[in-house]
Symmetry: C2
Subunit: 378 residues, 2 copies
């Protein structure tokens, strides 16, 4: 992945090329072996007047291969990974470059929040003025009312993720924060304040996927196996759901991914989840079956998901502190987890014996979710 942050002097293609070249070099493959490219991007039409990015990005990397852009809002990157896996399993490709990119600091008069709003339901939500900070605020309020918990508990999520990012050179924010600072930050949408929200970020990330056959025939340097993939769907608009504190898209994606990998939730040693807002991390851990409904907020309070807790969550810093260039986030999760497994990450010591990791990438108010299980042998 590239450095994440505000990069007014970069273009999407430039950022993607950097991530793609880094992935090719890291994998130690000849680019002529790449058979296909899948790209996650959410709003290039709005930020750079640029659609049709599949062929654009392929040619930026000197690749003359089938190249397809996938869009599932903030889950676009994870969905690109899933389509790359499908292409390999379908026998269409042995080596696939999967990547994601987003430029978010050049959104003009609508701002990034206006652009992001197209991931919600225009007829039932956007026309009535609700954007994502407001939508997640509703989810948080309802969660507090149903299950208990308060702003101070959610603040622990932000504090933990900033702590995890504090030595990550690629993270947008490398500064620790305190619960007091989170609580004192100006409100974004009650009960969420500025530090409950992931930032506006430019960046790109990419990975090289290879088939099992290719891996067996080549002496790859520290490969990580993606053993399971799963995807789920929910209503785009909150108002059409039976519950706004339970995310069936995450649950369905997890169920499929666990079955695909042949694991249970209990087997997971650490994970990267989609914490676009602090409440989203809580909902993700429950949807993934790692905590019962209403209990992940206690885990945050008790510190169970910190780097030295029993189940480290978002050791990369998460979307909250690492940054959230939306189309790239699903790939950044894969990139960071790979480094964590390999011992190449500042936080690798926290998971030195880990064998099973999970990435969870969500779109909108979790109308889309995609889960991957990553494994290594220790």
């Amino acid at each position: 992945m590239t450095k994440f942050g505000e990069m007014a002097d970069r273009t999407g293609r430039d950022l993607f090329a950097e991530a793609g070249e880094t992935a090719i070099e890291d994998a130690g493959i000849d680019r002529a072996e790449i058979d296909a490219l899948y790209l996650g991007n959410f709003m290039g039409e709005l930020s750079e007047r640029q659609g049709h990015m599949g062929p654009l990005m392929a040619k930026m990397l000197g690749l003359d291969v089938p190249a397809t852009r996938v869009e599932s809002a903030c889950a676009s990157g994870g969905m690109a990974v899933r389509q790359g896996i499908h292409a390999i399993r379908a026998g269409s490709a042995d080596v696939v470059l999967v990547g994601g990119v987003e430029r978010m600091h050049n959104m003009g008069t609508t701002g990034a929040t206006g652009g992001l709003s197209v991931a919600a339901d225009d007829l039932w939500e956007i026309k009535h003025g609700i954007t994502f900070p407001g939508a997640y605020a509703l989810m948080a309020k309802r969660y507090f009312a149903t299950h208990g918990g308060d702003r101070e508990d959610l603040a622990e999520v932000a504090v933990k993720n900033h702590a995890n990012a504090s030595n990550n050179p690629l993270a947008q924010y490398q500064t620790e924060i305190t619960v007091e600072k989170v609580l004192d930050a100006f409100p974004v949408a009650d009960p969420l304040g500025l530090f409950d929200a992931s930032p506006i970020t430019d960046g790109a990330a990419a990975a090289i996927l290879v088939s099992e056959g290719y891996a067996a025939e080549h002496d790859l340097d520290a490969p990580v196996a993606i053993t399971g993939t799963g995807q789920g769907t929910d209503d785009l608009a909150l108002q059409h759901r039976d519950s706004i504190t339970w995310t069936p898209a995450t649950a369905d994606a997890a169920e499929e991914a666990y079955a695909d990998a042949g694991i249970d939730a209990d087997d997971i040693d650490f994970l990267e989840v989609h914490d676009c807002f602090t409440i989203a991390e809580v909902l993700a851990l429950e949807g993934l079956g790692l905590y019962d409904e209403g209990e992940a907020i206690d885990a945050a309070r008790k510190g169970e998901t910190t780097a030295d807790g029993e189940l480290p969550v978002n050791l990369s810093g998460g979307l909250k502190a690492k940054g959230h260039p939306v189309g790239a986030t699903g790939l950044a999760q894969i990139s960071e987890m790979t480094k964590l497994f390999r011992g190449d990450h500042v936080n690798s010591d926290a998971v030195s014996d880990a064998e099973v990791g999970l990435t969870h990438n969500a779109g909108g108010t979790v109308a889309s979710a995609v889960v991957h299980v990553l494994e290594v042998e220790q």
Copy 2:
């Protein structure tokens, strides 16, 4: 597919639901059997302020399944078909709903042409004022200079496609035109006039794909086999290409699809190609290997591709007369070809003995192309 045309009172979701329901009913399946949805859409963010259409469209059809939007400009629909095939071949799904939709008549101040321009290269093309009519005009001029031919030859493509659509109740235009009318039409971008261009269209189309295993176990009514899929890529910007009259994306897609199906170009009995402009049909037939370079223009002049010619092309009326709701076009080709095979189309008599058909869907100035081979046993 829905009726194609100008539908100011419809929404994308409404159009897609109609196409999806029609596909489910036609296939005679229970919607509970559908395992996944792939959607082709090009510019919903610009036309309806609506991205993240995968889950939106799934829920419109009462489907609670993985749902993913694919965007490859005007080839988005065909790419959705390809991802659906991958999902089935990968073992992720047995039954997939693939569809496409576009609203193009509500593009505000930029107009549809401004919206479509995001399929070209913003830095190298759009910023300098070239849109697709101009780009294809350059391709046509260069073709004339290299290979011969003139506006009158291209006019035959438009006349043929209007003739084919003249009794097609779903086509946007059901009126025959003459070469004189094409030549006298007001210029769009020299040498192309109004009748060299496909129209601005609203519409949707969908299909149900099933695995071979599912097909063997169920008594399906007149199924058509998709036996080959292929995809190709080229530079987004014309200026980066060695030639602007040869489309390697089409050639690569065809090569892969023919190999996948185990056929040669000679085996093809009829086809639907991406005639966004008259010159595009000529380039497509050459890229697909059905005519040598520089010779497809003669085929148009000689009438070899008319309904009663030796190789009927665009019996549906093509993009030119059937209409071109960009994200839906790849699916409309599949829908029309299925009816042509089954004897359910007004032009079925032209291909009563046909066993092999081909669909060709392109994005931008053919920076993306996707080809499918469809077969039935007669």
